[in-house]
Amino acid sequence: MTMNKMKLTGFETSSPGDAPLISVRDLHVRFATPKGQVHAVRGVGFDLGKERLGIVGESGSGKSQTGRALLRLTAGNGSIEASRMMFDGKDLMQASAKTMRSIRGSRISMIMQDPKYSLNPVLTVGKQIAESCRRHENVSRAEARRRALAMLETVRIREPEKVYSLYPHQVSGGMGQRIMIAMMLITNPQVMIADEPTSALDVTVQMQVLSLLDDMVRERGMGLVLISHDLNLVSSFCDRVLVMYGGRIMESLDAKNLDQAQHPYTRGLLNCLPRLDGKHDDLPVLRRDPAWLTEGDEVREGGAT
């Protein structure tokens, strides 16, 4: 593999010594709609190690569908295709529905944008966390409760006993997202897919939630995929960034080198962000090049072999 190919396709983890947790090649997601077929993800490939991998893109770039496809959670009218989708030595494309159920939640977890829709409104949050623990591990009720309380403490909720018995509508957005994270982490997953986990939150709360995910990666060696539209956030938080546009990966680069991005799309996105230290002049507008949707096809094929 040449340097150039690696840059484009992102087949390189930050910790090259280890085998990747997740390895995807040539992933396609298509949807059948009344207006014809929509090709949402077009040949995406990457490896995820024990690292923080960011996927950035605008709406419709296929970033969320890429995350869902990893768990085979694509909506009913969609189909997934990939030449390779391995998780911990298992081929996720071949896995039975039962195997997928046992992987989802316990080994690969997912956090969505809005905790309000992901939590059951008629159960207390503590019960839901304990339930999630008991579903994946054979432990007693008392043990599950103890672990749930410990987990609430881990996600820095101040009075875990009190929060344990609250209903989802009684908690704030930031706390709701922490509870979601606690629920997803209690099964000790190896990979976490976080789809815009903080975009509904205030900036300071956003930082606190991210620091929790950060701890999990550092302390437990979890692999994290952070899907976001926020370039600033991803570049300051992640180790590696994949920039997606039109269902393709435009560029893959180290987060700290985002400023030196080569691809015109990444450059365009960076330029049109208003900056705190910027001036009042008009912002440069992003000009889209249709060639971005076809370029590098040969290189990608070469890289996948």
Partner: protein, 258 residues
């Protein structure tokens, strides 16, 4: 242009009374662009809603162009101040074409030459005449927000209140809308009050910024202070740091401000 003094907003009464905004005052010059920044629950949107008269639970004085506003607004007084909302999907009536949406204010205020005015305003916000008879579902988020701006602008107001006008848009579309807003301000000498949670967006458009927390203004800063980060209040400092991106070390210093 706009003076607000001794201003407070209170919901409910007795035990359930919530003081959403307290000790609020601001003064905005004609043609100025003023920002209100704060986290959710800071009361920044509530202030805008009271100013345009959707919410009448306020006390104090609001003067626009020297004239004090009352709780009940006359149709005529609506002409001077308009508002653009956050959600481009929710702020346009789904069953009405752009033509219906844009001609309604003209009908209400009895303005003539409707066709001419509609075509002119569409052009100004960067939409061609071919958009005139489309429904909102045929437009993208950015195009819808342009229509919302056109609707606010068609009565030729002097003040426009912007409630997070770009927070639901992609960054590339956000840049286009921000450019449009500053071009319109220059062309018409408009006065803006913009509410946002995003310091960078407010800093881009506004020359003075009030930082709000829990219903009170904690500090008013200039754009220069915003750029350099030389702010005095600890809350502003924290907000500014958080807006710089993820920083593990800085996070440890964060505190709650009551």
């Amino acid at each position: 242009m706009i003076e607000i003094e001794d201003f407070s907003i209170t919901f409910g009464s007795g035990k359930n009374q919530i003081r959403a905004v307290r000790n609020f005052k601001l003064s905005v010059a004609e043609g100025e662009s003023y920002g209100l920044v704060g986290e959710s629950g800071s009361g920044k949107s509530t202030v805008l809603r009271a100013m345009v008269g959707i919410n009448s639970h306020w006390d104090g004085t609001i003067r626009v162009a020297g004239e004090a506003l009352t709780h009940k607004r006359s149709v005529e007084s609506r002409k001077h101040m308009q508002m653009v909302f956050q959600d481009p999907y929710g702020s346009l009536h789904p069953r009405r074409t752009l033509d219906d949406t844009l001609s309604e204010p003209l009908v209400i205020h009895g303005l003539e030459n409707r066709e001419e005015r509609i075509l002119k305003i569409l052009k100004e916000v960067g939409l061609g005449p071919e958009f005139r008879f489309r429904y909102p579902h045929q437009l993208s988020g950015g195009q819808r927000q342009r229509v919302a701006i056109a609707r606010a602008l068609i009565l030729e107001p002097r003040v426009i209140l912007l409630d997070e006008p770009t927070s639901a848009l992609d960054v590339s579309v956000q840049a286009e809308i921000l450019n449009l807003l500053s071009a319109l301000r220059k062309a018409h000498g408009l006065t803006y009050i913009m509410v946002s949670h995003d310091l960078a967006v407010v800093g881009h458009l506004c020359s003075r910024i009030a930082v709000m927390n829990r219903g009170e203004i904690v500090e008013e800063i200039t754009e220069d202070q915003m750029r350099s980060g030389e702010v005095t209040h600890a809350y502003t400092k924290q907000l500014w740091t958080a807006s710089q991106g993820y920083d593990r070390a800085a996070l440890e210093t964060f505190q709650e401000f009551a």
